[in-house]
Chain length 420, copies 2
């Protein structure tokens, strides 16, 4: 047992493909540094400390940490418990009893708030604690960091499947010409924006991107769909699950027809389901929707190598700075260069982070509010770790090759035989 | 130009991750065989022939075929056009005008019907034609073939994401303990069944699998969910989009509340959306749903290598047997051995295939009608090409390690420090 005290780590908020890589970074750094005594994990975030639901991470085989670097979800269990005033005193007592001197909390905005309040409480009670938050959120909405671990991987997933869904919808356009893809994102459109990363040509999916930063009128949406359908013969629109209408409410929920059943229960319709239905009713075009849900944030097969690596590094850095005396801080990622892409970890006071959101900046959203700009591309492309999946051999062939030519021209003649 | 005539190939029905591998098999076999003259592709299936919307596949660079072997969707464009009586005569005239002697049609049940009718019509008019169908459907519902190209890949996707969604739901179970995953499958539960392929222990997802072969009562469904939630603390249920209730109708549609809006328009709710809502209303448990939609049949990152290889081979075999004089047949896959897995192509008369479906046999569904049996596992595991993704290092650790222990026990003590 070291004289420097023990370390406590937890995971909080929505899971990601790389939050376990951050946990591995924390634990391996602590294991290899002689100054750390015990290494405890909280089950389901801060509740694990309150309920004494802890695990001894020194008991795990070494091999576990290598494997966790490529295991999605939160191995300690996650949570969204909001600290109550009466919890604060108990928490410091628990930390004291366990001789915890390093408190590492992996999560998003709410988790930063929790870590900040734990740090404050310890300070108030004169208990020496080094509380450091590790950023994690597919929403990519934390301020003061170039981006958040988790975002590069969901961006790789969403951009890849958008190209694949695009190929499918194009091939099937005589049957189901309109496809709405609903992706995650609390108040910010970062995930929806990433759908663009494999797009090479105007004709490629996604044709439309709707983000919560721009209110969407139903009329405008229907006009967009109609115009894209006329131009390309098919449409792929990507929408954030929380996209709003002009009133500021969710576009799905504010329709009085679908918001509640006759018993007054709220009906769980989603944006894409509602919008696909709207297209079918109003434009007479068959429309379908894909809602990858949890799948989009968990896919290891489509995870970003850059993201996996950075997630590990921010975890390790949190332990490094906590051991060096930092407290009440969050680790950030600072971008050094784009080509080749390099970054380094930084630090920001937790009070600057807690409960603040970084939305998509105006320069990343096009003037019409239905797509993203090339400035966004420069920002996001390095984060997915390697080239975007484009299937461009197929796309580039149009209209002369195997890929669909403009069917509205419908050539009356079979192409001339070229002979062997 | 060869004396033997030209070849015409088309793709039809829903897209898959490997239908282009079959196209590559057809074209490369034809390119390398001196007996084939021109090689034409129909755009959007048989409609391409009717509308003279054809492409000359000899004009593609050789490299295209290698790349198409790993490109999802249908590069020629797909369709679901049902041949009308008046089309038949025109089709034979078109085939004659283009000197088509080999007609290769890649698709499912309906496409087999189309190929059969084209073959019959040519025979009736005394025009020598060799029509061979190539099986393709993620639904895996064609009879006389061990399985269908496309199935192994969607099974790999569904089994992988079910494990990932399971880890996520387990970690988040204090917030959203119930997850419904809706997967494809017309009248058969083959795709839903494949969710089991990564399951190692009783506690792992999927806990429940519902297929259209077994009617599902709402009461029974709610009891299953409640019981699983009590046992595991979370539930992942996988349902086929077409799962039926006792009346034989879709479980979602037959609820009078949700089937139509007040104007009489049918509302596009799905099975999972409806069932998640039912759980929330009736059991008071927060429930969410994932509906990967098109994404599940298009994922190249999760495609099965066995499937990609077999899809190519059935395409090549179709050309081989057509050149050898076969007509009015579909290529099948015959399983030779399970360990190691080996297969070979076979042939079946089209008249045996057209418009018939192979449902999940009784011995693959458990007695309760809410899961699959180990007999199914033996059948399906070889098809996903390599081991299922299980993340078993995490699962196997329970309850002593990092992975969640039984939280209802909530140990009052922190585990004993083991010391470095």
């Amino acid at each position: 047992m070291s004289a420097n005290g023990n370390l406590l780590v937890g995971q909080s908020g929505g899971c990601t493909a790389v939050i376990n890589a951050s946990l591995a970074g924390v634990v391996q750094k602590a294991l290899y540094d002689g100054r750390v005594g015990e290494i405890f994990g909280m089950r389901h975030g801060i509740e694990g400390l309150l309920l004494s639901d802890l695990v001894d991470l020194r008991m795990e085989p070494e091999d576990m940490w290598r494997r966790l670097r490529r295991t999605p979800s939160a191995a300690l269990g996650s949570g969204r418990y909001k600290l109550q005033e009466e919890d604060i005193g108990r928490i410091v007592a628990r930390l004291r009893a366990l001789d915890i001197r390093y408190f590492i909390y992996i999560g998003g905005n709410d988790s930063a708030d929790t870590a900040h309040r734990v740090s404050e409480a310890a300070r108030r009670e004169g208990y020496e604690l080094h509380a450091v938050a590790v950023p994690k959120t597919i929403d990519n909405d934390l301020p003061y960091t170039d981006h958040c671990p988790g975002y590069g991987s969901i961006a790789r997933f969403v951009s890849t499947v958008t190209q694949e869904v695009g190929l499918d919808t194009e091939a099937m356009r005589r049957i189901d010409p309109v496809k709405i893809v609903e992706v995650m994102g609390r108040d910010a459109g970062w995930v929806a924006a990433s759908a663009v990363l494999g797009k090479q040509r105007d004709t490629d999916a996604p044709h439309l991107i709707y983000v919560p930063e721009r209110p969407l009128s139903r009329e405008r949406f229907l006009n967009d769909i109609k115009e894209c359908h006329q131009r390309h013969g098919y449409v792929v629109a990507v929408v954030t699950e929380t996209v709003r209408d002009e009133s500021g409410g969710s576009i799905a929920r504010t329709d009085p027809v679908f918001s509640h059943d006759p018993f007054g229960h709220r009906y769980l319709t989603g944006a894409a389901s509602y919008l696909a239905d709207l297209v079918a009713r109003e434009l007479g075009l068959r429309a379908r929707f894909d809602k990858p849900g949890t799948i989009q944030r968990m896919s290891m097969a489509m995870a970003s190598e850059v993201d996996l690596q950075e997630a590990y590094e921010v975890g390790a850095h949190a332990v490094r700075v906590a051991l060096n005396g930092e407290d009440d801080k969050m680790v950030t990622i600072e971008r050094i260069s784009n080509d080749p892409y390099t970054s380094r970890p930084g630090l920001v006071p937790l009070v600057e982070i807690a409960n603040r959101q970084k939305l998509l900046p105006d320069e990343y959203i096009n003037a019409d509010g239905n797509h993203v700009t090339s400035t966004y591309l420069e920002y996001a492309l390095p984060l997915i770790g390697g080239e975007a999946v484009t299937y461009s051999h197929l796309r580039g062939k149009r209209p002369s090759g195997v890929a669909p030519s403009d069917e509205r021209k419908r050539p009356a003649l079979c192409p001339r035989p070229s002979g062997p």
